[in-house]
């Protein structure tokens, strides 16, 4: 079908092109109304044709037009489009004014198609370069925080390159990725997060944080980002954009002119931790008010307790607490109030870049080199990223347009272990008493290189200095494109791209480290390569069938191939300390192996766009994919979308300064998604067993011999898989008032994702733990809104406000027959399992709830006293909480709403901008707080330390009735009872309001620079996370230790967040 269509199109253009008309040439210059200077890069088109040209560096153009009757259309982004009939003149000069109707700007939509926003039947939001450039944040994803409606972005921590989770319009897939598709200059690129092994199978719970690969894009190379939020917007990208798409356009040279050809940028920022929980400073090491060293006088590290339940500082005895070191010296018993805070250093971020761009719309080239060097908040947390982007676009004399770019990225990262399993961050919260001089004591034995700390515990300094993870990633993103205007109404585009990277990782564990006492070297190589090509034929016809009806038909074909390989080798039982080469190991059978995948998609798609009088638009798309990952019989699937946009102010000729613009839009779409590779058959794998505390691996060597071992996979494959579909409906409106100085963009959406392909949990008694199947349904509905206000606008002063708001309600409607709850793939601790549960929003944490008096007694069936229902049940033997109720939802990580508010003030070249954002609701389970409580380090644990207390609750009598709890317990027991790592008492409301971003910049007046080589000089200061207010948490709850992925709401002892601020300089030549 597609072939026939194309052939006939080819045929048509060959036949039709014979007709020639009489022509002549007109020339002229386009200038800016504001500055009077020539405007480069303005498109000058003969109306209703594709015959056109761009203005050159000083705004001049020259164009061949028909002898008579031609009309020229002058358009440029941000300027009001003008039309001029060509009479008999041969010189046409035009003055363009800034477009007051900024609501209709040109944005890049799916497949790189540029469209006027007024024609769009779905919501998109464009982020401009200046919104992400020089904002004290080297990670482009993090720099979007709080700026986009419908988008939730959470970083793992403040460590350099920490992974960043981004979800657009909620979670739509139960087990597949919910990260949007990233597209750079029309080419889908990898935003995968390749997790390190981290030793002993801890995975994301214990490995150093590695980045998702959007990190590799330097914010300074970006011209704009357009966020396609719903399936309708991204329908042409097909299955991969079911979670939305982030369309990034890099800078090119098309609009450069003299004095703008070279842009140099330089920034220096410092980074400090903030949001650490407040600690007490009255009590030091010990337990039950005393320090006990079981071996008699001994050193601090042999004392039985690392907790801070010792004597009060200053009370006698102060030196008779057993704090005599093994060398005989006495250690003063005093508070070290900043021993945690001082563990962190001040980080620095240097960014330097130069961007050279020149040319016009027809011929341009760009070379951009940027470097970001970040030394993070601890030793061995570093990032060094270099981007080199070389691109060019040329329109040949024969009208063939060719272009391409090569983007080279080198990202080197050093990271430190995190997580509950003995990382520095865990030890800081559970094994550093208030009287421990952490900074003043040695952490490594100079002779043996052994760890010096409590037995079986790694000194935090030992952890970060001796067990780092390094990653060295080399990436190329190459894009090539060709386009040809076959006929005025027919255009052919071909674009191919290759994104490929190799990430070489090394994780070392020194001999004597806590996780790997015999030492370990893990080498891992990740290789990803994605090839993508699109062949697109576009036909346009104006005034088709009736006057004012413009049609555009696009037919395309897509080939996508993704390769992945990881090779890992692990050497255990190292012989020599300090020599981290696999050759130093003596056991190699653990964790060594390889994993590969290859998947391909062949797609054909079509898009029909109809526009009537520039106020009514209808767009229909359809795409059929063939995927390698589905069973042959089911591997071809089709999905359509329809969108409509109606600018009723134009249609009804409502022309008012008060109500200036009104548009209604609606769409319905369906997007198909294929499976991951290799899910069709049940396979076998290594018969390894166990977890981080004890495990065995094969081949298995005993005194009797070496035995290989394989076992059947715990997942049942499916040969009957069908694609999964997400259906989405969206309605919205764009309204503009007061000449669009006040505008609204409001959207309501509903998505339903059904028959999801997932490894659905099965009862282990079937012999398996999951089966691949099409099951489950997940619904999202929500509102998102965007508001722009320009309250003041004079020639000297301008104040702009941009606000966004998001509210999403997500519900797991069903999983599978007989399955009410299942855990999200990934690493979790038993007792706090991120799950999806029927009737609950996605991602709730399931664990043991504190026992409370139920409405009816489960054994007797009798109703309980209503005044007692909900009170804690206390164990009469201990005075603390009775056994918890397992399988309860203890935390829901989904915020109720979120929003951002940016104010920008411009006064004679001085620009002040600040972004305040809020996330309201959502919960976070904090292991750090749990540890700080049970160790008596948290501030609250020092209050009334010597008083006994009674947990408010009731005790069950033998007859089933309850009596008030009257059992007194001491502070240590009390805090021990509420400090359980997974206790509900350590679930915090994650509501937080913050001053996310501030920047104050000054651009030198152009007049001042007139006689200098500089075109623009701008100096700015910027800051991030300068202030936050979390009413119900004693730390900054805006984090998610496991970073990008479907697991959220867990703070499992990673690094804290950081506050960044610094100075930026930008100048052009």
């Amino acid at each position: 079908m597609k072939k026939i269509l194309l052939m006939s199109l080819m045929l048509m253009f060959t036949l039709l092109h014979g007709a020639l008309a009489q022509t002549r040439t007109v020339s002229g210059r386009v200038t800016d109304q504001k500055t009077g200077e020539g405007l480069p890069g303005v498109t000058v088109l003969v109306k209703a044709t594709t015959n056109g040209i761009s203005t050159n560096a000083n705004g001049s153009f020259s164009l061949t037009v028909p002898e008579s009757g031609a009309t020229l259309v002058f358009s440029s982004v941000g300027m009001a489009t003008q039309e001029r009939a060509v009479g008999s003149e041969s010189v046409i000069n035009v003055v363009l004014a800034q477009d007051t109707r900024e609501l209709s700007e040109v944005v890049v939509t799916a497949l790189g198609i540029e469209k006027d926003t007024r024609s769009l039947g779905y919501s998109t939001q464009q982020i401009k370069a200046e919104q992400i450039s020089q904002k004290s944040e080297p990670n482009v994803l993090s720099s979007l925080q709080g700026k986009v409606a419908g988008v939730n972005i959470t970083t793992a921590s403040g460590l350099p390159g920490a992974s960043t989770n981004i979800n657009i319009r909620g979670i739509t897939s139960l087990q597949n990725t919910n990260q949007p598709l990233f597209v750079v200059d029309g080419i889908p690129i990898s935003n995968d997060l390749d997790r390190s092994l981290g030793g002993a199978g801890l995975g994301s719970l214990g490995a150093a944080q590695t980045s998702n690969r959007a990190l590799d894009i330097d914010p300074e190379t970006i011209a704009s980002i357009n966020i396609l939020k719903g399936p309708a917007a991204a329908a042409l990208y097909g299955s991969r954009a079911a979670a939305g798409a982030v369309i990034i356009t890099t800078k090119n040279g098309s609009s450069a002119n003299k004095k703008l050809e070279v842009t140099a940028t330089s920034s220096f920022n410092v980074q400090n931790v903030y949001g650490l929980a407040r600690l007490q400073s009255d009590y030091g090491q010990g337990s039950n008010g005393v320090i006990t060293t079981t071996g008699g006088l001994g050193d601090i590290y042999t004392a039985n307790s690392a907790a801070s339940f010792g004597p009060r500082f200053g009370t006698a005895p102060t030196l008779a607490n057993g704090l005599q070191l093994t060398d005989g010296s006495l250690l003063p018993y005093q508070s070290y109030p900043d021993n945690i805070k001082n563990f962190y250093r001040q980080g620095t971020i240097f960014t330097n870049g130069v961007n050279i761009a020149g040319g016009n719309a027809d011929q341009n080239a760009t070379l951009s080199v940027n470097n970001t060097k970040q030394d993070g908040i601890t030793k061995n947390s570093d990032l060094n990223r270099t981007n080199v982007l070389l691109g060019a676009n040329i329109k040949l004399i024969n009208k063939l347009r060719v272009g391409g770019s090569v983007n080279f990225v080198q990202t080197d990262q050093t990271g430190i272990l995190q997580g509950n399993g003995g990382s520095a961050f865990a030890i800081l919260s559970n094994r550093v008493s208030r009287s421990l001089n952490l900074q003043g004591n040695p952490y490594i034995d100079p002779v043996t290189n052994a760890n010096i700390y409590f037995p079986g515990v790694e000194n935090p300094y030992f952890s970060i200095t001796q067990n780092p993870t390094t990653s060295s990633l080399t990436r190329f993103i190459n894009v090539g494109n060709l386009s040809y205007d076959v006929l005025p109404w027919l255009r052919v585009d071909y674009r191919a791209g290759l994104d490929t990277y190799t990430d070489r990782r090394k994780q070392i564990f020194a001999i004597g480290s806590q996780r790997q006492p015999t030492g370990q070297v893990q080498d891992q190589v990740f290789y990803r390569s994605e090839f993508n090509s699109d062949l697109i034929v576009t036909a346009k016809k104006d005034n088709i069938f009736l006057d004012g009806l413009n049609a555009s038909l696009l037919v395309g074909q897509n080939v996508n191939q993704r390769r992945f390989q990881t090779i890992a080798s692990q050497a255990d039982n190292l012989t020599l300390p300090g020599y981290y080469n696999a050759a130093n190991g003596s056991v190699f059978s653990n964790g060594t192996g390889e994993s590969n995948s290859l998947r391909r998609i062949l797609g054909v798609y079509s898009q029909l766009t109809l526009g009537y009088n520039n106020y009514l638009f209808l767009e229909l798309t359809g795409r059929a994919d063939q995927s390698t990952t589905l069973p042959t019989a089911n591997r071809t699937f089709f999905y359509p979308s329809a969108t409509a946009s109606f600018v009723f102010t134009d249609a009804f000729k409502i022309s008012s300064d008060i109500f200036s613009y009104g548009k209604l839009r609606a769409n319905a779409s369906k997007v198909g998604r294929d499976a991951d590779p290799y899910l069709l058959k049940t396979t076998y794998n290594s018969a390894s067993q166990g977890n981080n505390v004890s495990s065995i691996n094969f081949p298995f060597t005993t005194a009797n011999g070496t035995y290989p071992g394989f076992a059947i996979s715990s997942i049942i494959g499916s040969s009957t898989l069908t694609p999964e579909f997400t259906k989405s409906y969206e309605v919205g409106t764009n309204l503009g008032f007061f000449n669009n100085r006040l505008s609204f963009d409001v959207t309501y959406f509903y998505t339903r994702s059904e028959n999801q392909i997932l490894p659905v949990t099965v009862a282990a008694s079937t012999g398996f733990n999951a089966r691949i199947a099409n099951v489950g349904r997940l619904d999202n509905k929500g509102f998102e809104g965007l508001m722009n206000i320009t309250p003041v606008k004079t020639s000297a002063f301008r104040w702009d406000i941009t606000a966004n708001f998001t509210r999403i309600k997500n519900e797991v409607v069903s999983i599978d027959e007989g399955v009410t709850s299942a855990s999200i793939n990934g690493s979790a601790f038993i007792g706090s399992v991120p799950s999806f549960k029927v009737g609950q929003p996605y991602g709730v944490i399931i664990g043991n709830a504190l026992p409370r008096v139920p409405a009816t007694d489960p054994t007797t069936g009798r109703a309980n006293d209503p005044s007692l229902v909900g009170k804690y049940i206390i164990n009469p033997a201990t005075g603390t909480f009775d056994t918890g109720i397992s399988n309860s939802v203890i935390a829901n990580p989904n915020p109720l709403w979120s929003g951002g508010l940016t104010n920008t003030f411009n006064y004679r070249g001085i620009e002040l901008s600040f972004l305040v954002d809020a996330k309201y609701g959502g919960e976070l389970l904090s292991f750090t707080n749990a540890s700080l409580k049970s160790t008596g380090n948290l501030y609250e644990t020092g209050i009334d330390r010597d008083q006994s207390r009674i947990i408010p609750g009731v005790i069950r009598n033998a007859d089933g009735t309850f009596r008030p709890n009257n059992i007194q317990i001491d502070a240590q027991t009390y805090w021990g009872a509420s400090g359980g790592l997974q206790s509900q008492l350590n679930v915090y409301d994650a509501t937080a309001y913050r001053l996310r971003e501030v920047s104050l910049g000054y651009s030198l007046p152009t007049g001042l620079l007139e006689h200098t080589p500089f075109g623009q000089v701008r100096v700015s200061v910027s800051g991030r996370n300068l202030y936050y207010y979390a009413p119900n948490a004693n730390f900054d709850p805006d984090q998610n230790t496991q970073g990008a992925g479907n697991i959220r709401g867990l703070e499992v002892q990673g690094a804290p967040n950081t506050r960044n601020y610094g100075v930026n300089l930008r100048f052009t030549l």
């Binding site: 307790s305 391909r600 018969a687 298995f700 399955v819």
Partner: protein, 508 residues
């Protein structure tokens, strides 16, 4: 014009090429995994099932059995929690990955594969392993998915079979019991087999010239164990099985069903890996066992556990005739003796190996003798030659020799401790002696003494201090894992909320 034509033709050709169907099929048929095998051989399933059985028995489940029977004490982390009987919400990994999704499904897979390969030698051993592992499941959990289990997609909601039916079978419900499963396995071992396991793939008996004959002894001993376990409920059936199979059982320590571990990382016995590598501060010797062995002057004490300094450096130590040891009272909150100072008694090399190579000891000659002693004492109609007294002493001797006590020293021990060497004439007291000695012989194998304790209430154990959990007593069963309940909601016969205070069928 020419150019345009050329371009047009090229584009058309590109499209045409990518549409040619045979090429396209080739392009799209890439979904065969290079990462995992889609078929395996019998030897790799056999080795993995055997070794994973050893791991299962010495990892969490065995560890918890040792805590509940107060051989060992939990002093931190999960063991401290289990020690005060908080079991709810734990052991999902054991049920999911070590048992049903581990040894059980793989022994079943091996049974199925052996049929297609006409190799009942493999199938027979697999049935014995399956029966051993199922016994672990039902002994801990009572009624469990059995006859409808291990069927994958064919039965996603397996029924919970009654424990009685799991042991004895129930033809009405189509249940082949464990006893018949073992008999079936033994019968398979007598059949001609196209291929048989040997030294290369039999980590337990491969060293014997006729390893299949040894597996039959293992199977017979397993029948004795099953009979012994249900003997309170089914004395006649137990006696009949013991009479029939005692002669074919393991008769020397060398024939014990011991599964060796290795000394390298990743091959170590969990008793070593957990207690000495990853979690060295979680457990130590229980004062209960220490006192019991100390009062008996038991020469195995220093073989099982390391000695410690005594007072004044270590005030909680216990001085015995065989050295000074330090135990900890189960469930205690008192300060824990310092490990760095060497003040904790922990497993010695007999239990854990010098670097983790000690075997999992799952069916032993001593066990056979203790079973026969108990049968001679208690069961009517036992025809196996020998008295309870003679079996009892032989059992202690077998255990002591296995632990490294010289034969002559055992004789001397009996002479010096007549009260311990001789069974009381009071049947209950004699039973207590037998089971208490059996408990001592099982140090390092936590599951068997937990079964014996629940069946006989011996050894006499006081509940742990600060006991919590479902009630304040030693649990009579494990609570069902949540993951199983969540994915098999309302399965037939399932009693999802059963409390740990309810005894299993054979203990009732």
């Amino acid at each position: 014009m020419k150019n345009k034509k050329l371009i047009g033709m090229t584009l058309a050709a590109t499209v045409a090429l990518s549409s040619v169907s045979c090429n396209r099929d080739k392009f799209l048929d890439t979904n065969t995994t290079p990462n995992n095998p889609t078929a395996v051989t019998m030897p790799v399933l056999l080795t993995s099932t055997i070794i994973n059985t050893a791991f299962m028995a010495t990892n969490d489940l065995g560890r918890t059995g040792a805590l509940l029977t107060q051989q060992y004490a939990g002093i931190a982390n999960q063991p401290a929690t289990y020690d005060v009987y908080i079991l709810r919400g734990s052991f999902d990994n054991q049920w999911n990955f070590e048992l049903y999704g581990g040894t059980l499904i793989n022994s079943q897979t091996l049974i199925d594969l052996s049929v297609t390969k006409s190799s009942p030698a493999y199938g027979g051993i697999a049935k014995l392993l399956k029966a051993y592992n199922y016994a672990v499941v039902t002994d801990l959990y009572g009624d469990v998915p059995y006859s409808q289990a291990l069927q994958g997609n064919a039965n996603l909601h397996p029924r919970y079979d009654k424990q009685e039916d799991i042991y004895k079978g129930n033809s009405g419900l189509g249940i082949v019991g464990l006893i018949d499963l073992v008999k079936d396995g033994l019968a398979d071992l007598d059949k001609p087999s196209l291929s048989k396991p040997g030294a290369a793939d039999d980590p337990v008996y491969g060293k014997f010239a006729n390893n299949v004959a040894q597996w039959k002894k293992m199977g017979n001993t397993l029948l004795l164990k099953l009979a012994n376990t249900i003997s309170k409920k089914e004395p006649a059936l137990a006696a009949a099985i013991i009479n029939q199979y005692a002669a074919g059982a393991i008769t020397t320590n060398a024939e014990d069903f011991d599964i060796l571990f290795g000394s390298a990382t990743g091959n170590q016995n969990p008793l070593y890996n957990y207690n000495f590598v990853t979690r060295p501060d979680d457990q130590m010797l229980s004062q209960t066992l220490l006192t019991a062995m100390a009062t008996r002057n038991d020469p195995r004490l220093p073989l099982y556990f390391n000695t410690t300094p005594g007072p004044p450096a270590n005030n909680t130590a216990t001085t015995t005739t065989v050295g000074t040891f330090t135990g900890y009272i189960n469930g205690n909150n008192a300060p824990v003796p310092s490990r760095v100072a060497g003040n904790r008694s922990r497993y010695n090399t007999y239990i854990r190996g010098t670097s983790g190579e000690a075997p999992a000891r799952l069916l032993t000659n001593a066990q056979r003798l203790f079973i026969l002693a108990e049968a001679a004492l208690k069961l009517p109609g036992i025809t196996v030659a020998g008295t309870a007294q003679s079996f009892y002493q032989a059992a202690i001797r077998a255990s002591m020799i296995k632990a490294g006590v010289a034969d002559a020293d055992v004789t001397a021990y009996f002479a010096a401790n007549p009260g311990e060497a001789n069974l009381s004439t009071n049947t209950d007291t004699a039973l207590e002696q037998i089971i208490t000695q059996k408990w001592i012989s099982w140090v390092g194998t936590g599951l068997e003494p937990y079964n014996d304790y629940r069946r006989t209430t011996y050894p006499r154990l006081a509940p742990a201090l600060n006991a919590s959990g479902d009630d304040l007593n030693i649990p009579q069963r494990f609570p069902y894992p949540l993951s199983e309940l969540n994915a098999n909601v309302g399965a037939e016969n399932q009693n999802a909320n059963i409390r740990t205070s309810v005894p299993v069928w054979w203990a009732n």
